[in-house]
Amino acid sequence: MASDDGADDLRSDAAAGTRADVGALPDIGRREAGGWLVPAAAALAFAALPLVVSPYAQDLIVRIAIYAIFALSLELLVGATGLVSLGHAAFLGIGAYVTVLASGDSGASLALLVPLAMAAAAGYAIVVGALSLRTRGVYFIMVTLAFAQMAYFVVHDTKAGGGSDGIFLYAKPTLAIGAQTLLDLGQRLPFYYTVVAVLVLTYAFIALLLGSRFGHALAGIRVNEQRMRAAGFSTTPYKLAAFTIAGALAGLAGLLLAVKDGAVNPELLSWHESGAVLLMLIFGGIGSLRGAVLGAICFTLLKELFQSEALLGSLASHWQLTLGLTIIAFVAALPRGLIGIGARLRGVRAARAGAARST
């Protein structure tokens, strides 16, 4: 028996060290099990859902998809580059406010609004990034928070931003060539499929980015920035580029959110919103694009559940408490987030099998 164990050890020593043996360590380009099939299947499911669910549920799915885009943009910073920002809502809010302000009373074309909302958010991101990326760790968190609160008070305390009440979007954006309207976001289904398409494009774009040399450099910066500088990477421009792209994508999510709600208010830029999107990432699993989407889905559904008076009665008014406790419980049980549930279960099963063998 003892000699058998020895032979086992030798064999596992010789085989150890490949990705499969070490477990759930991420590939540098973060290829995940199933490759493109899993996100493609999820996209088809999103596309097929309006056939079977009520308009109310469609509305909820649109909200989920917008928050998934927002979470994916933050994942580029937190998971890919290792930059934990607590001010990401500023870019969502700027995208949303620019959309409403540029639409005016008569509405505007998406061909104008999309570049405008993304450029405004990216512009603020360049400024915030250039100043905050000089700091690290908790200081970076605080500086990004401070810049977001600054943007919050600007829209909160100015006439143009409508103060604490916010402003209404009187006419939803359209896309037209000549007199021919191609897309009217004021209609339910076209808007639904636009949001799903933007989610798919955002996911594909970030996946493409992470597999490129640029994305690999971001991964290197996350693991050991000093070593990257020693190898010859000027790391600040890389980080600033990631910060700006993340800001622009959050601005795009803001545009969609403004169209969905038909109004904006300063709470879009508040630190609650920045904290919520960070929680979505932690909930779903940092370091995975699927985790970001999964986190957005589960977070939004749980919030909806705990806010429902029909289901929970008077407890619904304390939804922050119930949602918070649930998330704490999940994170305690699943440190790698919901996306790590498979590895976690495999680990438990392997430990059980090991225990069974040794007794």
Partner: protein, 270 residues
């Protein structure tokens, strides 16, 4: 033996004391100094290293060796003096710019990317100097040039059999070899090696010394090291630092018999 042929080919440049050197140094520090809150960590240090030689810097803890190497690599700005590399004054160049110009370094503490594979570690550093890093439609994993460079670096460091392993699962000695390979993958002309032998066993040390001896044919190597036996075995020149200053700089035989060095550092019985 490649090292032997080098010795016979370049005896004057490699073994003569600095004053007599006719070869142009690839890397040169002139009157380098750094003060921390009024305390001189490095004071008026001049040192140079040519292609084809290993120039070792020895000294007790706190002698200023790490500060010196950090100023040469560009991680730390000097308070006085200048650094020249490949004919340029690089004193004001950032570390990444110096690295892209061919100034590579390794760290005392192993600084590999532990969660990536051995090949990925080298491929990543190899892509540092490639044009168009923003071309996001190109797959890094298919970067044949970087992969070829990385495999050559791994072969030079004796790690080509471990390319697919996760770096964190390597032995300590192999991690130090990987550190060198990552440096080589950036195609450096000069190497600043900060205690590459730290924590290594006898066999691993022997392998690393053989690697250094073969690398010096084509590289200028500045070696900071605590292992005296190893230093006297491979170094062509040795500079001794005490309290931030150079007290001696000469060929190993002269350093061994230098009275000031023996008193300050080597101690009796060495």
């Amino acid at each position: 033996m490649p090292t032997g042929s080098l010795m016979s080919a370049l005896p004057a440049q490699v073994f003569a004391p600095r004053e007599a050197t006719s070869a142009t140094p690839l890397l040169e520090a002139i009157g380098l100094g750094r003060r921390f809150r009024g305390l001189a960590a490095v004071d008026n240090v001049s040192i140079d290293v040519c292609v084809g030689e290993i120039h070792a810097v020895i000294g007790t803890n706190g002698a200023g060796k790490s500060t010196l190497i950090n100023m040469l690599s560009g991680e730390l700005a000097p308070s006085a003096g200048s650094v020249r590399f490949g004919g340029n004054d690089v004193t004001r160049w950032s570390q990444p710019r110096r690295a892209r110009a061919g100034l590579g370094r390794s760290y005392q503490r192993t600084t590999i990317f532990a969660e990536f594979s051995v090949l990925e570690n080298c491929r990543l550093t190899a892509q540092a100097s490639e044009p168009g890093p923003w071309r996001i439609w190109e797959r890094a994993a298919n970067d044949t040039r970087a992969i070829a460079v990385a495999m050559r670096a791994l072969a030079a460091a004796g790690l080509d059999g471990d390319a697919g392993r996760i770096a964190s699962t390597l032995s300590h000695g192999a991690k130090r070899q990987l550190e060198i390979a990552m440096c080589l993958a950036t195609a450096p002309r000069a190497l600043l090696l900060d205690e590459p032998l730290a924590g290594m066993g006898a066999e691993e040390t022997g392998r690393m010394l053989a690697l250094l001896a073969s690398l010096k044919e084509t590289h200028a190597i500045l070696l900071v090291e605590h292992d005296m036996d190893a230093v006297f075995k491979v170094a062509d020149r040795i500079t001794v630092m005490v309290n931030g200053q150079v007290i001696a700089s000469d060929v190993p035989e002269q350093i061994r018999s230098d009275r000031a060095v023996r008193e300050a550092y080597l101690g009796d019985g060495h």
